[in-house]
Symmetry: D4
């Protein structure tokens, strides 16, 4: 069985690339999925539907177009990695963690120690808390390779 893993959260560092490269280097049988991570493209996802003078509605339209993609991908995933960086509020990451919790889809958080208290509710529903990409790759290796008898 192959695993499908959705990478959620922070878009300002290249942690997704690092996870995917780590998995490739270990030859893991995993399909990675992700939201559109080009920030400007994501903010403009609804612009093709017509201009909006009110910024709320521009955001609204773009967020919904993005949600067509992200909700479908999350609902097709076996595991979700949710990354909280040290900048911005990243409410979307917490929103997707809550979405997983209600679906019963396992998720792993990836964040530094200084946000432990602020993320305690999010972490309490997670299957693991990781502080580094290496730990995430380690979990993916264990979970996807760990076979029973041949």
């Amino acid at each position: 069985m192959s695993f499908t893993v959705y990478l959620s959260g922070e878009v300002h560092t290249n942690w997704r690339d690092e996870v995917i490269q780590g998995a490739l280097s270990k030859d893991l049988d995993i399909e990675f999925l992700s939201a559109v991570t080009d920030h400007a493209a994501s903010d403009a996802a609804g612009d093709l539907l017509g201009e909006e003078s009110n910024p709320f509605w521009r955001d609204h339209k773009s967020a919904k177009v993005n949600a067509i993609r992200t909700r479908t991908l999350i609902e097709n995933s076996d595991l979700v990695i949710v990354r909280f960086g040290d900048k911005y509020r990243q409410w979307n990451a917490a929103f997707e963690a809550g979405y997983c919790a209600a679906l019963g889809t396992p998720y792993v958080t990836l964040h530094a120690e200084d946000t432990v208290h602020a993320l305690k509710e999010v972490d309490s529903g997670a299957m693991a808390w990781a502080t580094s990409v290496d730990q995430v790759v380690g979990i993916l290796e264990y979970v996807s390779k760990g076979r029973g008898p041949a």
Copy 2:
């Protein structure tokens, strides 16, 4: 991941062909599904089960045979495009939009500006409202191509 998209609604124009051609021209990884769009064949779908003197029952039998196909296809779709044309009442299109809403399947409406008020409940549950096939193809491209890091 490939996307599966069901094309619902109006059968009197060739908007389905235009959407499919648009997707082909952009090389999108999408499987398109649809009800039988040959109006006469659809009306006669139940005739092989025996003639009916009462037109209500002829319609009833045909509609149910069609529903074997349409409900299965909708339940296997990631996204539904619902087209409302400028003729006929097209209650079936609104019915299928409501079906999607209850399943939690995202749908996008495609209709002209003059039906905005009449379709407000249908639109309020949609992920987007498009007025042209080009916009629909634009959404399909964004949603299906928008990859994270390679």
Copy 3:
């Protein structure tokens, strides 16, 4: 066991009152639920959240506020009566019928004979097609009173 019945569709005639009076006159143990049927109030449901210059967004906001009410009521109902009148397109009625179909909630349609062909998909998922309020009340009486042995 008491039945809960949601009355969906046409708001321009007093058919809801007639159904409720008919049920009262037969002393049926039924709780009736309904969307807000004051057309102007319903169109303005979102206005308290701020004005919109674009009529699409005004409709959008009102339709969503109405949906908080209608979807909760439908999901709490045992049976839905969906009325199609002879005016307007009434896409919302067909939308709510589709919503019921996907939930597995039984619904009964109430419409005249001249819309039989246009409503064949909606009718094919219904438990009954009625042409008069008396027939609807008759079904409600049979369904809610019909007890087994005492």
Copy 4:
């Protein structure tokens, strides 16, 4: 039918009291539910199960005891109001909004205009965005009082 409304998010202002008082003053038939809003008590919810030297595990135990309460209450609610204040990251509020989104439970956000862009994904799944308690109470009045014909 009575409505059950869960009040989620910010615990540092008395917005919950204001909503409840507003509802009382209008005599609305609503049961309000809420997490434990005494911050210190909430942080200490797991302490009765034994001390922890590692703050992560203290938070973990308390967050899970709180989750027994909050998830049960959310799953019993018809509507959730999610408040984002101007301080702290409030990931828990976004987490609960995501939880509602996946359950299909309607939610309304309550936050100031300056967080519109940061909350666009959360808002895009909401039934309404309110900026004041008065607006929230207005929605509750409309939704819970809005009866059909008598």
Copy 5:
């Protein structure tokens, strides 16, 4: 907690009355539900919707009106008793047993020993097979009275 029990199947003997009397005599806290058991009334349940010349459609209309009642009652039951008598084919009883099996609603069959082989699939999904009303009442007493410590 009170139990709700639906009595399904044979309508040609008074086994329902016997079960209900047995439960009354033991003062069990059970609400009993049942389809309409007046055979002629049940066959005519759809007649108020208009006459049918084709007996298939008369049966069809009546069966659907009955299903409004029976499916709602089954979905509200904690336990279903399914009685197979020694006459007629009683496909409806087997149909309702299959309906329970798919819902995960526990059911108990009540039939004589000579139909054991014919009913093996139905019995294999049941929580018990009873051959007498006394046994059914015994199960109801055990299940509904059996309290833990006071």
Copy 6:
């Protein structure tokens, strides 16, 4: 999209072969599934688990081993054909129809006109009633071939 069709019911005639040959002759893209139709093998399915002196328990064990297969197959099917022959009670066929009804899986009945009244509840939940294998094959062709625009 390929369709998966489960063939349920009567095992004493070769109607399954006829349906499958009919589908082959029309080159339909359908996977057919079925219970074990060798009657003696089916009755003995549990014998490898040890002998039983009581025929009820022999039947019980075999029926459960068969159910491992049949329930999995039904839950993986898009459409079920349920055949009622003119001999035996065939409660299992009605049981599987009820199972489909509760799952929301569409099913088509196949039986002669003289059992119309006895099967009215089973038929009322079906998408069609067929009286011949040719009609079944006709439905399968329509449902699986009926494509939208190319």
Copy 7:
């Protein structure tokens, strides 16, 4: 909102009474549910359906009659307390914990420190691990009393 709590597991000590008395002494708004805890009565629950010479089938019949009660009660509970004592294997307690985990029903384990390693999978899905009745009562008080603003 009142809480419903199911008490699962060990039947050889009076821990259920202690939990219930503790809750009474604190005036908690909780309904407690439980399997039949009279061991001999539970083992004999199926005897009224006829004697069995094979002890496996006697156990089988009794276990199924008990399951009518226990599964209904668990599915109606907001929280389950699962007690593992120091004697016997108590597979049933672990079985009910797994049942809760799959339903998404929160559960709390109650067991001594020396079974921590053996119960690690069961504990990892729990909302809390308690070692004393006092701790369980403390959780119940916090969860059921912890109100938001008045």
Copy 8:
């Protein structure tokens, strides 16, 4: 259709290898899945996330990492075989059986006769009780090979 079978329970004997070899020797179309069965590796699954001084939390972290794998595999299985050996308490096996019961996933138990009474609740929800690997392989052969007409 191929079957997917998860092998749950005892890790101290090589019963998994025997089942898989038996299936291979009969050329069955089955994919086998399993938890990590290397006991030491399983206990250490969480160690890469950092050391824990408290053994409870070490177990907790490892059990959750293992659960990412096991719950995903169980939810993707058509059938689960649950093995109870004669040593250790094996609460995890009973936990996974309960998980299957709540999901409606069929499971077969594999254990010796002397644990019949202790496992009666687990067995009562199973589709079969086997005492040898040969019986398990026999069931797998019957279930996966048993085709209808060609």
